[in-house]
Symmetry: C2
Subunit: 160 residues, 2 copies
DNA sequence: GGCAATTAGTTTCATTTGAAACTATATTGG
DNA sequence: CCAATATAGTTTCAAATGAAACTAATTGCC
């Protein structure tokens, strides 16, 4: 019965069971909750915070490095860095060897914000994860790792 | 040792282990891969596809209903519906009882697209999920349900 | 050494987005 | 019944976004 199978498959798209949809809604809710912390208290946009997050952990990166690690594009990074520098939260310095590159780092002011936001972000993550038992957290970690690997393969394959 | 604890927590934000970041990257990769299917083949934007996805399953919804089910805002829905109607893929009809409401549904043309996209979307979902065993899929389903419930609570709590 | 091709980063411009204002209809309290 | 309030949906306007063009520095190749 091919025709009834086709009808069934079309009727069968239940958004609440559809993985891409579930992931998107969940991710947006989590991001929004976190964004609230830093946008309200520190006047930071999401891209700005992402840049600060990597620079806080690894100072001296170039803009390209930051783009790579945050999965942002270079235009976004450029603009976020610009805003951070003008706010005195990050600084650019010339690279000794390559004149095209700028080494980026948080200023003392930027680091002070970083040191305040990080515990808040980790706390909120903990609030989320406290919905799960330790065993479930390990499961989640493993599942996300597998899915991320698969997703990465697909994206790369499609682009190539 | 409060100061060393603070220093440690700040140093401890590893993006690759940070749940909000992992979810965001994964979700974007999955959405991008799916978006490719319908944007290229059918000239559909993501909001347009979301509207079609709910109307395909449940015709006769109002714009507000659609917004609720897709987690989109009403402006986005209004614009997506407008585009769909102008493309002859969806139609509005007056509600018999409430003059403010428009009942939305796919046209034959819209349904033909829906019936083509749904199997493609389900197939791609299956490709993603094939990274997991049946037992792992059940785990994922349960974990996402718990996290979604928790996330929903947080978002509602913050807004209130 | 010097010209072509790359790479880092910025700028420009058209499109997308979302908040707030607006129109039109419906409901509620007096 | 009618004024005040609420709801459905659209429009407007300013800000965010991303693709493509651009500038500047570097590398590779002959």
């Amino acid at each position: 019965m091919p025709s009834s199978a086709a009808a069934k498959s079309a009727a069968g798209l239940d958004l609440d069971r559809f993985l891409p949809y579930r992931l998107s809604v969940l991710s947006n809710h989590v991001s929004d909750a976190i964004a609230k912390i830093y946008s309200e208290r520190f006047r930071l946009s999401i891209p700005e915070w992402r840049v600060m997050a990597v620079l806080g952990g690894t100072p001296g990166l170039s803009a390209r490095d930051v783009a790579e690690r945050t999965a942002m594009d270079k235009v976004q990074v450029s603009r976020a860095v610009d805003t951070l520098v003008r706010a005195g939260r990050a600084a650019r310095s010339a690279d000794a060897e390559d004149g095209r590159i700028q080494r980026l780092a948080l200023t003392a002011k930027g680091r002070a914000i970083y040191d305040e936001v990080v515990p808040l972000a980790l706390h909120l993550e903990e609030v989320f994860l406290s919905a799960l038992s330790p065993a479930e957290r390990r499961q989640l970690d493993a599942l996300l790792a597998k899915l991320a690997r698969r997703a990465h393969l697909l994206v790369v394959a499609e682009t190539a």
